[in-house]
Symmetry: D2
Subunit: 338 residues, 4 copies
């Protein structure tokens, strides 16, 4: 249940409603917009279902949210969330952001080269993995703290921000001071303890969709983060598992309009993991922009054939540069910018 | 195996190669391009694998096609197929075609109104079902021959061409003189007898992807049609079956670049069946154009809420008109036209 | 809606109810059991929803069936259907039937050898394909009429009945006099024209589940057959398409108890197509019996490695003989016999 | 690569091989059987591929394991693993173990009643959740430490062992002294940090299959645990995610014979989560035993309709008691015991 206040509602009337709700044993979550304040009720609504909030002072209307996710829900927060960074970059606004870089950080030279190139081509975030969750325990698991440092040097030199995956509390702690966006990978989308952990922090979170998660489960996973207080969450579609083997995963681009109808959070699309083959990445990147995505995350490697992981799905510099030129045109066609 | 001839190869050298191949017990399929002739070998290649075709007169090179589909294969026919209609419309060229109309033909008034409107908004093909394959035997199964006549009147009045589904030999025979494109529905994608039947005819075929068919199976289904002689086949992505229930099907837009890399046939996308909900259709239509589709097939109904079938996924006239305006801009952004 | 009559209800009271129903514009379907008669109403129930059938003479009770399938529904026909053959064999009774034989009929010698062996080991039906729906048009498509004749000779010699697949009206006509059970394959489960065709005939039908059909769609497909008058339908689980590639399909054995709760039709399980690998067939055959299947259909070939199709999933004679011994014990453990 | 020693190989010859391997920069893992010792090589085999181990003293033969999982591999450890508990119970031997109890621990009375009943019916392990990973942050998350204590009291009173899920390091630490088997749930199957953590402990681990994990990924997840030193791992099939909605998940019973062909680890089946409906549980429990499972884990609740979670899939006491009687007979039919 959500109580929407009148534009001129006073602090007193807001406080009065909250005290009624709390007396009944429920929690509240308050969103203050430029004009309106919305009070969300958290807990067992059956205790309060008949209470006449509509006639209380300052109340505009009361609506019911049937979905189990509340804070994430567009009905609760109709305006799109825009996440703002210190350098002026915004995610969720008119401008579509591009995050680019290698699958894994390998050494200083390659990550710096990648950062400088993708920045020059128009990317604002450097992506790269220092902690790699791998199917086999014997595969390369990332450079860990060393990788974070190399990536940090590269982003500083290129004047970018960085997004990197954390896989548990330990890696979260190690990475926190280096990163600008905390990435939760597909395999950890329902690692609820980790979601709660990042929910208590003060940096934006990029939450990848689980390998076979429904959109409903994904939004509930985002709710775990928001329920702890961190409101800067973005959702990243990266392909789902289906019977089709022509692509590594099946990029579910319909998730973009579906999410736009259900949540106010920004949506990022990963065409690299979504297809698993670099020749398909440009088409799907353009399609994602046309579908309404707020951002793209794309794997770029100086020499994809030599990459320690995921070389098949990485673009080289030239391919990425050409793609960025085309993406700018497609973005304009749907009233956005890159 | 495919033998590519030199630009100046004589009729005699082509004939000589064919006679060698046939002597060995294999068949041939000849594609004459503007400059080059290509000879495809059909049958058991083990009989002929060592034959020195490379040194025969007029031969440019010999390539091996490992996929089970040959005529459909881009390696065999590198130029994109363009299907041409009497009124000058082309499918597979620079211009993206739009097919639009109701799920089912209901009566003269509604189909004529739909035809006139979608034509005015830029569609060149009228879509509509007279034979409806329905899950339950007790659901509306279409107006059959009466529906075909109503649809034919409407397309004539509006100056359009028409595409409609056939479900067996009897409906194929009934519909053949009315339609301009023969539609094979998802449930019949591996109805091999029906595929062979349409393969012997001389009208273009729109082959929808099966509900859970792989791209490989789909291309082999197209091969069934082409192997009988009908070379005018287009492939229609309409969503695949996955675990996700937020959409009716999961529209696999990656199929567009995958198909472009494997076949020369035109690719149509159906965002209506692909999503099952009209509010998601515009985003996915734009995404399909950006991904490189050669055409769209969209359900449009004068009053979607009153539709006898699939009202949830139909656009009304205004929604379709507005979408067409936006699609023209997206098409231009990827060097196409609508 | 279903009207269940009292045990002593007279012909007149049954006739009276039917005439009321028909006057209202609906159809009826009557099932006479040993003690009870049930009248099913077919058509638009909104016309009749308030009619006081409960107080008419001879009526025991009135129940509503919400599923779109009626004749197939257990609520309509609570007793299990038992299909009886001239030689005394029954499907759906206490005895579990085994259908066995090669994927495809190859020649007289192999099919006769297979028939004699599987009969001696306890199978009562010979399976084998004369019309093979194949993904590629260039794969072996079956011996067609010649294959039917070879198979017919073999079943006669061995004293068996035979089940074979038909793929369209032409093959149905050719095969009808040879076969004892008409098999509709997975790819034709929603070939509604073919379902209607076999619905008008007087031989039992084995309806395989579509590659990615839901149980609800499958029961509706069976309803297409029953709605035309043929009440001898059995359902065959043969694996569904999932992301897992360790097996050819994922055998959905849960379909057995699910179907048992929803329909009165007999259920057959095909562990050969379900797994695609002969080493997994014995375990899944035993599991199917334990889960409550009424029959098994198993691929057996004299020399699996030389089979023209599906050799990987065929048992050889010894493997089949040993499996039959074990199946008898498992059948006894669940109060059945083989 | 795996080196199998002769039965009479001396300690010296084993040590000599290990020192060669380690000199080349690889690790070793030694399995001593009753008669034979096997040496597994861990690391980059390209460094050692040509080394003539075959001619070294005591070597019987050298085999190559192409799968990425080694310690888990049947080729490496051909004998089935049998996990032994202090009270004489074994998992993986002739006797099939049954784990039973409620989804979640609710209070002392219900967990004690459940323990006493399931023990009397033949179960040897009490199951129950104290830490519940739930889709929504607002759903009941388990009684945590209090739940562990209640469950511990119940198992002690009933004379059972207990299995319970841990979801992160904190819950693992809290639960370790109470539990006899550490359960890793489906959502954490690829929580590699947690897998490593339990790999360093000295209690058996029940590793549930991920919601849409392949069998290959699952075996690699088990390898993460074994690679840290914990060799007592059992695999639990609990249904995979497919398009079918008639059941909560699709129980992939084929996984039982597939796993039996690839690994030596014991296999447990969970028909409760696998089907999600209690009426389907008995059929699938019997099928699992017939397919060759080494154990079952079944949800049982004194009053399923009042359960705080998963009541739909829980058996009541009578249903469980009757099922156990039938399972004993099926177990005997496949040369096992319960």
């Amino acid at each position: 249940m959500v109580i929407i206040m009148k534009p001129d509602a006073s602090q007193e009337s807001i406080a009065q409603i909250c005290s009624v709700v709390e007396l009944k044993g429920l929690g509240t979550h308050i969103v203050k917009g430029a004009e309106t304040t919305i009070i969300g009720l958290i807990g067992d609504k059956t205790k309060i279902v008949d209470y006449p909030f509509e006639v209380m002072e300052g109340v505009e209307k009361v609506t019911h949210i049937s979905e189990s996710y509340k804070l994430v829900n567009k009905a609760f927060h109709p305006e799109p969330t825009v996440i703002k960074f210190d350098n002026g970059i915004e995610i969720g606004g008119k401008k579509i952001v591009v995050m680019a870089g290698p699958c894994a950080v390998e050494n200083q030279e390659m990550i710096t080269a990648a950062a400088n190139y993708v920045k020059s081509a128009g990317a604002s975030f450097l992506r790269g993995g220092a902690y790699k969750p791998r199917t086999s325990p014997y595969s390369f698991q990332g450079l860990e703290v060393d990788g974070l440092k190399l990536m940090y040097n590269a982003k500083k030199e290129a004047g970018m921000l960085m997004v990197t995956e954390v896989i548990n509390e330990r890696s979260l702690e190690a990475a926190y001071d280096y990163l600008d966006i905390i990435q939760i990978g597909a395999r950890n989308m329902q690692n609820f303890a980790l979601l709660r952990e990042v929910g208590r922090l003060h940096k934006p979170v990029l939450l990848k969709r689980g390998l076979s998660s429904t959109i409903d489960e994904w939004l509930n996973a985002a709710e775990y983060i928001m329920a702890e207080g961190n409101e800067e969450v973005m959702l990243c579609e990266r392909g789902i598992r289906t019977y089709e083997t022509a692509t590594r995963n099946t990029l579910d681009l319909s998730a973009v309009p579906v999410l736009k109808s259900k949540t106010h959070l920004p949506i990022i699309v990963d065409p690299s993991h979504g297809t698993g083959k670099n020749i398909y990445v440009p088409s799907m990147a353009k399609a994602a922009v046309a579908a309404g995505a707020d951002g793209l995350i794309i794997e770029v490697h100086p020499t994809p054939k030599k990459a320690v992981s995921d070389g098949d799905q990485s673009l080289n510099f030239d391919e990425f540069g050409q793609l960025m030129e085309k993406l700018k045109i497609v973005a304009n066609a749907v009233d956005r910018e890159i």
